[in-house]
């Protein structure tokens, strides 16, 4: 299983789920319709949802404690609606990380120094290949990073999420 796609860098620690999807959009009964509001209230210099690099990216590279705060899975649904498949960060909040795996998306943790290397290469690094079999991230600028993944998380990602897994096995 390989994902070779464009990356987008979000250089801020502790981006909480309120910043990923504001609470005012939590009033629906379905998981659709959240796409246009992803990062709507993220007040960050240089960031714009209409930026072409952001729109084309499917791999998000972020800083520590990404997805902290509210348990709202709407944050993951909003990422999904914008075709994001992978978030790479030094650390995630537990509930967000599990929500990603439960939906079959990848939350990959690599060390802060490796993330720093990625951010230092931000101008030149536009593509990554995330290889789930080899547990390896290959960047177009030649950088290669190894990662590990919790066995259960990998199973969920490969089996396309939690509910099917549970219905089949329990």
């Amino acid at each position: 299983m390989k994902i070779q796609e464009k990356v987008y860098f979000l250089d801020r620690a502790n981006i909480d789920t309120d910043q990923i999807i504001p609470a005012k959009y939590l009033t629906g009964i379905s998981i659709s319709g959240l796409g246009p509001h992803l990062f709507e209230d993220l007040d960050m210099p240089g960031f714009s949802q209409s930026n072409q690099d952001f729109q084309e990216a499917t791999i998000l590279i972020a800083q520590e404690n990404f997805g902290c705060g509210s348990s709202r899975e709407h944050a993951v649904w909003a990422l999904e609606a914008n075709d994001f498949k992978v978030v790479i960060a030094p650390s995630f909040a537990r509930i967000f990380r599990q929500n990603m795996f439960n939906r079959g998306l990848l939350a990959i943790e690599i060390s802060q120094s490796e993330i720093d290397q990625m951010f230092n290469a931000a101008g030149r690094m536009v593509n990554c290949e995330v290889d789930l079999n080899e547990k390896q991230i290959k960047c177009n600028n030649g950088l290669i990073f190894r990662f590990s993944l919790d066995e259960f998380a990998e199973r969920l990602v490969r089996e396309d999420g939690l509910v099917g897994f549970v219905a089949k096995n329990y």
Partner: protein, 419 residues
Amino acid sequence: MGKTLVQKIFDGHIIDRPSAGTVALEVDLVMCHEITTPPAILDIQNKWGDEVFNPNKIVALIDHVNPAKDSATALQGKVMRDWVRRHDIKFYDVGSNGVCHALLPEQGHVLPGMTIVCGDSHTCTHGAFGAFAAGIGTTDLEAAILKGVVFFREPKTMRIQLDGKLSENVYAKDVILYLISQLGVKGATDYVIEFCGPIIENMDMESRMTICNMSVEAGATSGLCYPDGQTLEYCRQRNLEIESLIWDWQPDSDAQYDKDLLFNLSLLEPQVTFGSNPSQVKSVTEMAGTKVDQVYLGSCTNGRITDLRIAAKILEGKHIAKSVRMIVSPATTQVQIQAIQEGLAEIFIQAGACFTNPTCGACLGMSSGVLAKGEVCASTTNRNFPGRMGKGGTVHLMSPDTAAATALRGFITDPREVI
């Protein structure tokens, strides 16, 4: 080697180990509110024939927007009502409800040793009873509703012993804000914290709930206190006989923790956040004088009767500053009734505060006190993230005592100055 409390609770609930490091736990209580549950209900209806694993182990309620503020939130409520009627699930509707983490303990649904999940990050509140309680997303919630099973990594364990004696005007909220400042916002990620020591032992259940409630703000999966006489008394008042549970759900004396921390808090002062995450904390003396536009008293952290009593004591016979507005939102209908009966509601209203119905409301910028851009709120809630209570607004977290003192002057005020 002895076991910690959370290890014992896990041992009693493990039904499977699907992969190395992950356990499948049997769920004793699934709590369902109107924001995160409807998508799960609809997906189960579409794919799995509208099943629920056991209606007696599910409790549902309306709390985030109470009552509905528009047709979208009304539809969330309708999906909940239709679902609980189809399955005969216990439901707390508008008029008899409250913020879930205050309501369920109050109504006697929470006991030591239970496993409790909800699509809400502050579910860790219920750990105050010596239960394992954790927030989950909607997909996990769907699996829990469908099969009564939930998955967790084997937890890392952390013991936090709190020694000393709290000074006057220093409360549970000050304790947990200080601890988060010491741990950092991800210092307890993937840990389950067990809080103990004389300071916890001397706290009532509502204060313990405040402590456990915010353990997630340090990243923790859950935060627990060991059941004791306080727990027994609180449950007895709800006709729950739990004497044997008190003894069953204790850690072994030789339990080993992955991290073992000790703090002496005798010199702790009232605490207030600055900045935009809950680990950015200073003592009130350093923050005093910061002007605020709104004071908010409420939420699953500090909207219980003891919180209202503390604030009312400061406000009795006085009026809030002209430059400020104050909103008091009792956490549950029962707290609302009690506040009226004890005369607290009148104290708040006479002091110039708006006394509202129970709701999560403004804590997450949903309703009933949302901030405008550039406004500052002194709040007894749990999160000061950017825009949390309204886009462009700033939040300073503090205790009900400090919040009430702040309301009197219109700027952050040391409660020790206004006694």
